[in-house]
């Protein structure tokens, strides 16, 4: 069966899986951003917490994704089979790039600017919100972009624990030894990744302070 015919015949199913995939990714990204950006702000002036947070986030990232999904299944409340487990795993996976870029962005600011801010009588929280954060925006967004691309790819594996998404086609295709079925999952996933990359790159350029 040609891939094209399979696409046409299963377009409704593919579209649904794509929507499902996007929901997984977007939900995980909302959680990851909600955790990693505030945490990144918090660790600017707290070296101990910084080492712990960056260390933990690095560990999550080094666990092979299939193993991470597997580890989570037996854990109560967050685990089990299905979407919830997948979202937890994807969130953990997305933390490091966002956390690291938030920290690097907030601390990589021209020392003369920070010195002037402090010497003019800005409080640490004013410096954070009015100077560091606006100047770090583009770098933080670059981290979000990296994390999104990774998450779109890793989310295909979420099908292995019954979370649905485009991985469903890929796993099915592998089992059926059918390129057409694999491509039905892989091509939309790749397109999603490219689309997200372009969109976020555009946003990053708009937010860059010259």
């Amino acid at each position: 069966m040609s891939a094209w015919r399979f696409f046409i015949e299963h377009r409704a199913e593919i579209l649904e899986a794509t929507a499902n995939h996007m929901t997984l990714v977007i939900t995980a990204m909302v959680f990851a951003i909600g955790i990693a950006v505030p945490l990144g702000m918090l660790i600017v002036h707290r070296p101990t917490l910084r080492n712990i947070a960056l260390g933990l986030a690095s560990i999550f990232q080094t666990i092979p994704s299939l193993a991470l999904f597997g580890f989570l299944i037996p854990i109560p409340f967050i685990g089990g089979i299905g979407r919830r487990t997948a979202i937890v795993a994807l969130t953990l996976y997305a933390l490091l790039p966002i956390l690291r870029n938030t920290y690097v962005g907030l601390t990589g600011i021209d020392p003369a600017v920070l010195e002037a801010a402090e010497a003019m009588g800005m409080t640490q929280s004013q410096i954070l919100w009015r100077v560091r954060l606006p100047l770090a925006r583009a770098v933080i967004l670059a981290g979000i972009r990296t994390a999104t691309i990774i998450t779109i790819g890793v989310a295909t594996i979420a099908a292995a624990i019954g979370a649905g998404g485009l991985g469903t086609f890929i796993f099915r295709g592998v089992a059926m030894v059918s390129d057409a079925v694999i491509l039905a999952g892989a091509v939309p996933a790749a397109l999603l990744a490219i689309g997200a990359d372009l969109l976020l790159a555009w946003l990053e350029r708009r937010l860059t302070v010259a």
């Binding site: 021209d110 600017v113 002037a116 801010a117 009588g121 800005m122 409080t123």
Partner: protein, 261 residues
């Protein structure tokens, strides 16, 4: 916090009382060593010295970016350690070599920094911004809406001076403010700033390693060497002083200027 308005202290004197500063108390090496001097309104006190002589440290002790290890730095009659540092700093203008303008702020927003922090109303702030830009020789209509990266080095430094004067501080600290400029622009700004300083009547403490700049702007010159005070002299007295470090500095002047001086 014992916050006080800058307006209720009429004393704008900066006074060092036997001040010593070390990075940490176990360190034997004093960055500045037993320094005493005072600077008052209308005066431009220049701290002159080589790199590492401790002059920038002295400046940072005034607005409590640093606190003395020993002795006291008095500002407006109170030790800096007794001030709320935020309140202290908002009453002290600060200009540094690279200007340190906020790249995401317009020129007007940069100049309005302290008035904004002090919650001035919009009308008062914007008239103050225009007044200050005019004062430093920038046309508000042309420059107010620009971003720092759209300015030349000299223009950025003018904005830096305007920002430091934002809420009309009584004390102005300047750390080699013209050091990164090309020689022609530097000479222009030095001339203009000298005239401005005489008009403003503020207590100005000015750090430089350039004797020519010191002679041009100072009402008094304090020469520092390895964290110690070598001399405290007027620009007229300074070249006559018999001290190896003074001679090293006078020798650094170009022969033509030296001959004229």
């Amino acid at each position: 916090m014992n916050a006080k308005n800058g307006s209720d202290n009429s004393d704008h004197t900066v006074q060092f009382r036997n001040v010593t500063y070390r990075i940490n108390s176990t360190d034997r090496h004093n960055i500045v060593n037993k320094i005493s001097f005072a600077a008052t309104s209308g005066e431009t006190l220049v701290l002159l010295g080589r790199s590492g002589s401790g002059k920038t440290t002295l400046l940072r002790l005034i607005n409590r970016l640093l606190a003395p290890t020993d002795g006291q730095v008095m500002v407006g009659g109170r030790a800096t350690t007794e001030w709320d540092p935020i309140r202290l700093r908002r009453g002290i203008g600060y200009v540094i070599q690279d200007a340190g303008l906020f790249p995401h702020f317009t020129v007007a927003e940069n100049v309005a920094l302290v008035p904004t922090l002090e919650k001035w109303d919009a009308a008062r702030t914007s008239s103050r911004v225009s007044e200050l830009l005019t004062l430093v020789g920038l046309d508000p209509a042309e420059f107010a809406a620009r971003k720092p990266h759209e300015l030349s080095g000299g223009q950025r430094q003018r904005v830096g001076v305007a920002r430091a004067l934002g809420a009309d501080p009584k004390i102005l600290l300047m750390d080699e403010p013209f050091g990164a400029l090309d020689p022609v622009t530097r000479a222009e700004l030095q001339q203009e700033f000298g005239a401005l300083a005489r008009r403003l009547g503020k207590t100005i403490v000015f750090v430089t390693h350039d004797l020519r700049e010191a002679l041009l702007l100072a009402s008094r010159i304090i020469l520092l060497q390895n964290g110690r005070m070598v001399t405290d002299a007027t620009p007229q007295e300074f070249p006559q002083i018999d001290h190896p470090e003074v001679r090293a500095f006078t020798a650094s002047l170009d022969p033509p200027t030296g001959a004229q001086a």
